[in-house]
């Protein structure tokens, strides 16, 4: 309750700041996630973009997640239990706790500052902090971007350092050991204007993760025993992505994205994402979306471990490290109040409604519903 008050206060400060100053934009959204296991996550988020002095911009974002998970259907650690869903895990090692409903709150805050130079350079930095009962996430990041060729080419670089604390919830009065995890991230993105209607983007991202990367609650059947999950404590992740956006003659645009991912745990993945945006009438925008994802299994993943030591000393029951494919279909409506505004302050207001359906070859399915508005003034 106290945390909700703090998060509400933050949102209030953000909104109050938005009302008092000029050159601002406020974005607020309410996001609901439900899946085939009856897990439910509700997210409220507010973001403020504030122009400060000349060439300086401040961004503040606050989000609150409310996670509701039903009792698990099987024994703790059994493969049919999906114990982690957006932003949430739960203590499933205990039989007692796994048969109760579970609820938790998560808060997230991000503050960023950006400085734009007159010659087309932008330098930025941000701080990220998230808190939930068993996890604290922190991240410091910096970015540099520069325009070339009269703004036709843009090169952007970003670096980030994350340091997270994992503190498993006590089980039957006994607290588990605490763990740390660090993340270094480097991103390079090249954006190129190809024609008056076409924009392309090429990017590379590498992430070095070291520290505890298992789920502290999940257990694995190995050699006839139920043992804690054990993942390697180092992981090098790389991704290459490309995107093309094209404005079509029918007052519509298409965006095609492809991503190839690779890491030293043996997971290789390809993702294809297509968006079609279409004006309906004067202002209404409808977006259709399809996304396909295909990945291979980590080298130490097994459906069944005969040896308690697993493979090379590692064992996992993480469904994310198995081979599978997934599909996502979505539709989004953006309703601008231009021409519909009955009050002057409503001019520029845009209302968004989004529905997405996600399902994969592991018999998992989820519905994502999002409503929100953007209000520049």
């Amino acid at each position: 309750m106290k945390r909700m008050v703090v998060a509400g206060g933050l949102a209030g400060v953000v909104l109050a700041g938005a009302v008092l100053a000029a050159e601002q934009q406020v974005t607020a959204s309410m996001h609901t996630f439900t899946d085939s296991e009856d897990n439910r996550v509700e997210t409220w988020a507010v973001e403020l973009l504030q122009g400060l002095r000349e060439r300086w911009n401040l961004s503040l974002r606050g989000a609150l997640d409310r996670v509701l998970l039903p009792p698990l259907p099987g024994l703790p650690g059994s493969p049919e239990n999906v114990d982690a869903i957006t932003t949430a895990s739960r203590p499933v090692a205990s039989t007692t706790l796994s048969k109760e409903e579970y609820a938790k709150l998560r808060q997230e805050m991000v503050a960023g500052l950006k400085w734009s130079q007159p010659h087309g350079s932008r330098i930025g930095g941000s701080l990220y902090y998230s808190h939930e009962p068993d996890f604290i996430g922190r991240q410091v990041s910096g970015s540099l971007a520069h325009d070339f060729h009269q703004g036709n080419t843009n090169l952007a670089f970003g670096v980030a350092h994350g340091f997270d604390s994992i503190r498993p919830e006590p089980e039957e009065g006994v607290a588990g050991p605490q763990h740390q995890r660090q993340t270094e991230d480097l991103t390079c993105v090249w954006t190129q204007t190809v024609s008056p209607r076409t924009l392309t983007q090429l990017g590379f991202e590498t992430t070095w993760v070291h520290g505890f990367q298992s789920n502290p609650y999940r257990q694995v059947y190995a050699g006839g025993q139920r043992l804690p999950e054990r993942h390697p404590d180092r992981r090098l992740r790389q991704a290459l992505f490309a995107q093309i956006d094209r404005y079509l003659f029918t007052r519509s645009s298409v965006s095609l994205r492809a991503r190839y991912y690779d890491d030293d745990w043996g997971v290789h993945a390809g993702t294809f994402d297509a968006h079609l945006n279409q004006y309906v009438g004067e202002h209404l925008i409808v977006r259709y979306r399809y996304r396909y994802h295909l990945q291979t299994a980590a080298y130490f993943y097994r459906d069944l471990y005969t040896d308690p030591e697993g493979v090379d000393g590692y064992r996992t029951a993480d469904y994310k490290l198995d081979d599978f494919d997934s599909h996502l279909f979505g539709v989004k409506l953006s309703v601008p109040f231009e021409g519909l505004a009955v009050r002057p302050w409503m001019s520029g207001l845009v209302l968004d409604l989004k529905y997405e359906r996600y399902f994969d070859s592991k018999s998992f399915a989820a519905n994502v519903l999002e409503t929100g508005f953007t209000w520049p003034f």
Partner: protein
Amino acid sequence: MKDWACLIGRRRGVCDARGGVTRAQRAQEARAARVPSAPERRMRAGERPSRASQTALRHCWAALALVFLGVAGCAHVQPYQREYLADRIMDPAAARRELASERKMLSTREGAAGGALGAGGGCACN
């Protein structure tokens, strides 16, 4: 289904009352007997799968960079020609806002998602 090992008492804990093997045990045995996937076969053969794919990744990167260099050299779109690029349906900022919440959702379902700004949080199991 009758199982001779159950009938003579050689399999303990997995037999039902009629001398057959339980459904759970049959499923477990079927999983163990399945043909290993390609990455598993590579791993068992002692090959490090990531090396080959890292080389492929570098080649892809180099090829795409060359294409981009060619494109960058010949594109001269003047500021007054950017009417369509500035349209709301071409706005990349709107997509970026959605990306944060989407990454959070996908990083708990897919082993290849996440890992970038704002991806912290969750369950320490990403």
